[in-house]
Symmetry: D2
Subunit: 462 residues, 4 copies
């Protein structure tokens, strides 16, 4: 059992089981780089505050740099009895540079240290998540462009509703993910606040230059209340919430991939290398990846509830319950990364079953609304026109007939406003072309939307 850095007042060493239970090194070792970079900057700040001499600071910085290399080259192994990444690195430093290493922690608490590491890490991961989304949007936009003129039935209530362009459908997801990125960037702003210098809870008594530290560590702002700084996990929950919404969006897309690749819809074909078979049924080609992505929404919702539950009713300032925050966030980060990177590949390879979509768009009275507007244009009030077309549809269903096959003579029985030009409004192409308001499914509109979305992607990179 290793002697703990905090054990001065303790007569007994920690019970083995308790030590294992409370150790977080298996989880927080991910923060090794942030922790070392932070300590290097902190050594400089201690030097600036004349708490370390120049040579002491140099020694420490050299030691830390060596540790970083040691970790990255896998030469260093962490120890569970040193609890967490912070203590592991502190112990490694002391063993490397001797007693001067014991000075590094002056004025710093694990409470502000861990929050600083975590914010540094999360800032990186937010940018990474945004980049994955951008790549995925780029695939969706390419697919949309290929399919501007590919029509399909649009659905509400999973009932065929109106003809739309498959390109328009794909662009709907581009819009969703654009909101997701905006949400992430806002969270980035709120994560970009440095708590270091808050001590355990009451601030630091050393003349540490916090703004200098923030600049060194790439933080735009520094926290303004030490108590809040060490108690706050809003930035973590915000991220996991944003991840939940992204996963919700992916679950909707996944549901549609499953539906659209079913025998019944058969609108798209998923790439074989993203499907699996059945150990029993030789004919099966299952959309497993889409299903797994859909299922993983539960995982991220779960982590959100995990964090919200942990923080409920916790008195200020730091409480050990909060240690669980990292595993939750890391799990959400990994899940997002895996799901997005798979979908980037998979969506690129889906095949559109044009023939099926073309056929589908001609069935199910999709242009009934257009027929009603035809009457509106002839002076019938909309509610009237709606009623008339409703009755025509009922007639068609009884006769097992699609709208376009109803003769003008028949139509006239329902309203004398119908004339020879009615046939034109009953085609899906015409219906789509006419939806030319901003945001509509008309080809020209989709082209504009694609152009504008591409410009956004470029701007985001710049």
């Amino acid at each position: 059992m290793a002697k703990k850095a905090w054990s001065g007042r303790f007569r007994k060493s920690m019970a083995k089981k308790a030590e294992e239970f409370s150790a977080s090194i298996d989880i927080d070792k991910r923060l090794y780089k942030q922790d070392i970079l932070q300590s290097i900057a902190y050594a400089r700040a201690l030097q600036k505050a004349k708490i370390l001499s120049q040579s002491e600071a140099q020694k420490i910085i050299k030691g830390l740099t060596a540790i970083l290399k040691g970790i990255e080259s896998k030469k260093i192994k962490f120890k569970k009895e040193h609890e967490d990444i912070h203590m592991n690195i502190e112990m490694l430093l002391i063993s490397k540079v001797g007693d001067v290493g014991k000075k590094l922690h002056t004025g710093r608490s694990r409470n502000d240290q861990v929050s600083t590491d975590f914010r540094m890490y999360l800032k990186l991961k937010i940018i990474e998540t945004v980049s994955f989304i951008t790549q995925f949007q780029s695939v969706l936009i390419d697919k949309a462009e290929e399919n501007i003129n590919q029509l399909m039935p649009g659905y509400t209530h999973l009932q065929r509703a109106q003809p739309i362009s498959f390109g328009h459908y794909l662009m709907a997801y581009v819009e969703m993910f654009e909101r997701d990125k905006d949400r992430l960037m806002h969270i980035h702003k709120n994560t970009d606040v440095m708590p270091l210098g808050s001590g355990a809870l009451s601030g630091t008594m050393l003349s540490i230059d916090r703004k200098f530290l923030a600049k060194q560590l790439g933080f735009s702002r520094i926290s303004q209340n030490s108590l809040d700084a060490v108690s706050d996990r809003d930035f973590v929950i915000d991220y996991v919430y944003a991840a939940s919404v992204i996963m919700m969006h992916l679950s909707r897309l996944s549901e549609e991939l499953v539906l659209f690749s079913s025998y019944e819809f058969d609108f798209i074909e998923l790439p074989e290398d993203y499907c699996t078979g059945s150990s029993l049924m030789p004919q099966k080609k299952n959309p497993d990846i889409a299903e797994l992505v859909r299922g993983k929404v539960g995982r991220v919702y779960g982590q959100l509830i995990n964090l919200l539950t942990i923080m409920k009713s916790l008195p200020l300032a730091y409480n050990r319950d909060m240690q669980e925050d990292k595993e939750a966030a890391f799990d959400a980060i990994d899940t997002l990364k895996n799901c997005l990177s798979l979908y980037i590949e998979m969506l690129r390879k889906i095949k559109v079953n044009s023939e099926r979509m073309d056929k589908a768009v001609r069935k199910g009275f999709l242009t009934a609304t257009d027929l009603a507007y035809y009457l509106v244009n002839k002076g019938v009030a909309f509610r009237e026109a709606h009623r008339i077309v409703g009755e025509i549809v009922a007639y068609c269903e009884d006769s097992n007939m699609e709208l376009e096959y109803v003769s003008l003579k028949q139509l006239k029985k329902f309203s004398d406003k119908f004339t020879y030009d009615v046939q034109r409004v009953l085609t899906a192409e015409e219906s789509v072309k006419n939806k030319s308001g901003i945001g509509g499914t008309a080809p020209e509109r989709i082209k504009e939307a694609i152009k504008s979305a591409r410009a956004n992607l470029v701007n985001a990179k710049a």
Copy 2:
């Protein structure tokens, strides 16, 4: 059973039970004003698009204005068989202005209509929530100012840690709520997008000027994809998420109000008119309001899960499941309003038990860290100093003694660096004064924080 506006193709009227189950009028009647204002603007847009003549538009607008008055003067009662607020108002309009009323719905679907109403309403409520938070912050700041020099023990792990100012403690919550407002204002920006003109899912074929509509209705932007516009409920979930975090913050404050007003802590006294007694135990004065606010965090978390569950795996575009969104959001809105408005009053009236806080801050080795820094200043490495003071504390505990009563002679047994000036660092006042870095608990820092927070409040109003 009323004839439905959509019933043209139906042979049977809806089952009574099904009608009652699916009707949302009891919930969405809150949107009456938004729905009428939207319809007035829409009538103008239809006129601009020459679908309504000027006199038709005038007739409709007049009718709608009368209906608005009728509702606000409680002369109009809604009918369940008209399902929702939109159909109720449409039916009222037709019965008031006749057949011309049947033209109003031209090119509009309930799908884009309801989302537009809801966004208009939520924008108002976000501003209202922000205003309640601002008022509450103002109370907290005033209390903080009164208590800049009131010391108390600061806690981590609910163990006494270091002395802090009660003013500093209160300002921690001001910081939290500032983040909450920032989150809300970001959501406001994303709610401020008009879906009207998206039709049922594919856009509108009428030459409706959506930008004109947006201007009329006070929207800054218009949606860019009709399919997404009617399928999207991100703005609702975002609000309920923000409400969850606010309630989480309030639950932490509530927990501390309960703790601090317990017999054991006894730091504050809650106003009698915000407490209740027991029907059995005559002596009880219970912090019921704080407990209820704490408990209501569950309610809002629940609504968040409600919404996230509903949206999981829903295919595009609109599905009726989404109707449940309004009740969830309204419940979160009301809960926030009630909790915040109660706390504005209650916190204003809490009494600080100065004597108890003053006494408490002198017990529990709160200045042990300062003692360690004393040694650091004398050249001892921090980890060494920490160990030495840890042993002094253990000695004190065995002797049942507070730190300030340990004699210099005794201290010297632990380290020869201790000299006569050590006594000074053992007082809470000195400890607090020394935490003078930005964000620290030193009085001067709190004064600055108060000044800056007040400036923020004023700016927010401007």
Copy 3:
């Protein structure tokens, strides 16, 4: 402002806003009958303990009986300033019978009183829920019997897998709901424990005969620890959990109703009187009821999280946070009742589209597994047989051909074990007939399952 029963030590009356916020009468008035019956039994117990004389007890019982009648005939209105149902009834009693009414509360606390009322109510509602489920099972069984020989494709991963009987499919839900009832009856057992006599937290000092009380109130057991008795809400959470699982089951069924009534599947037709149309699209017939039921799963999950959050970290014994439990449970009770009673009617009326199902079962290589077993029977190892049939399926897909149309000659190219008798195993009817193990989809097995399920329903009633 009414004088509170607990206000002896208070100088100030409660703030109006606080009173309204904390009052629960609008919610807990549902418990009026339980509260009165409890009080009647309690008066008897007080008489038995000689705390009330016989005439006092009679007076109180008469008063309470009159109040019950007054409430049920809507002559009595509750008052918000009397907080909750318990205080309202106590005040009504005092105003009716005078000072003797002030004795009724002797030895009883609202803490044990409310838990007793709630348990009495919930026991009733559990039985009611079970009865709704039984009725629904009965409808499902009838439908299953009608459809024993109606084949359809069975799905895994929403891909066509093997032929099954539609009756078998329906019986799967009967099984699920059987587990739900079992879970509910177990919860009933745990709810059937009387806390009355636990006082506020420490028990009662009066010689109240708790077993006598339990017998009067129909409880099978009495609680064994007063502190636990007033702190425990497990029975409520258990119910809301059971409701969550029931709603999850209903959400799966609802999803399938939506799928199966879509244009693409078209296996069933939902009754028109349980569907709605679109205000814009005249042709739409939307499965709104199925969607609403599916969406309401979120509501019940939300209430579960609500309760679990409330109870997290609450110290013993009663805390006011727990007041929120009733609204959560009542909401779950109502949701279940509404959803189940609608589905009882709706499922009875769904129409099976036989022609479509018959056609569907012949497409999608549903008998590929049977073909593999054909080879197994001829001595091929299963994994070999699986591989061979997988290749035949691939060949069919390339040739755009169903399995039954592959010639023997062709088959022999894949394996020489195929002989003339192979055709027989390729029909859906044969495939289904052969699944004759217990739990299989063979008609004889379904008949047995129906018989056994019917017997269970009868036993449950007995």
Copy 4:
């Protein structure tokens, strides 16, 4: 890339990333023993059904037994490209015993196989969880027995309410955990149903004797509907729900351990070897284990929401989303095991601070209710008595005096019913002794409760 067992119809092998994403071997390897035992029993059943010859069955069983040994001696490593534990073992078997191994999967699908393994595993783990709870109860009962006569303040609303025995307090938790065990045993019953023989979804066509299989594998019942059998995860969710309630109970206890070991309460002392210090503050002794256990309630709630979300709206039968169920359940199992086993040790070692409890029980008007009953015994109606004592308490608070120091003369000013014998009722000991109804805090009652609880523990073992 390994050839998959299901790959007959596939032209492309799985994408590396997709393979890694969908592989579950890292998680489900825990089921290795169940999977092998199942396969051994299945080989016997295939022999019984004459699908395997005796020598074939023997060969397979011998092979499987060797694999089991290989795994347990860590000689066997699993491969990610073999996806899951089932395929890994099948591949190991084939490589060990040759082509005969390819026959083992005859008539079995992973869908029924995985559910059978999981149920076997969970049955074990339920019993293990129950055993941990029993051990923990045993510790609590021992502690309770030691503390029957140790008084402490009982709390409601965290305000001192009435004197109770610390033993009574501990026994409240014994009751809670008794309910938890009952819930678990009921879940055990529902888990103890064998799905094997359900095939992929429609049942098996082989004459497999399912009852023989169930007997071999220790199942009491077999599933009755093949479709339900492979779609059902109720048993998993039930377990994670039960775990959530147990963790909720532990969170309440943890909260009290934190409170009671705070400086302010100081009722108990946590064992040093279950506490940690601060890296900054030398005096700190933090209740980290209690906090971590409290925090882990979030984790288990999260897994519950995870599972409920996954199952929402999933159509029958098996969908790949369901693969996530195991990680969720295993995490709950481990969390429970860790928390319970730590608490078994830690609670055994807590020290009661008798002096502080004794002192506390004398402060805060804890016997005010007893004083009211004194008046009731003298003929005052309870509501009257409550009011009078309330006023006495208010008077005491103004005079900063405890109840027992109010002179008889003073008391008489509030009511002339007070006589010299009043002093007796004001002691905590008397108050506790009088709560002698069943479930009350009187020593005799606690003794009975302890005796009865111990008898339950013994019966449970028997």
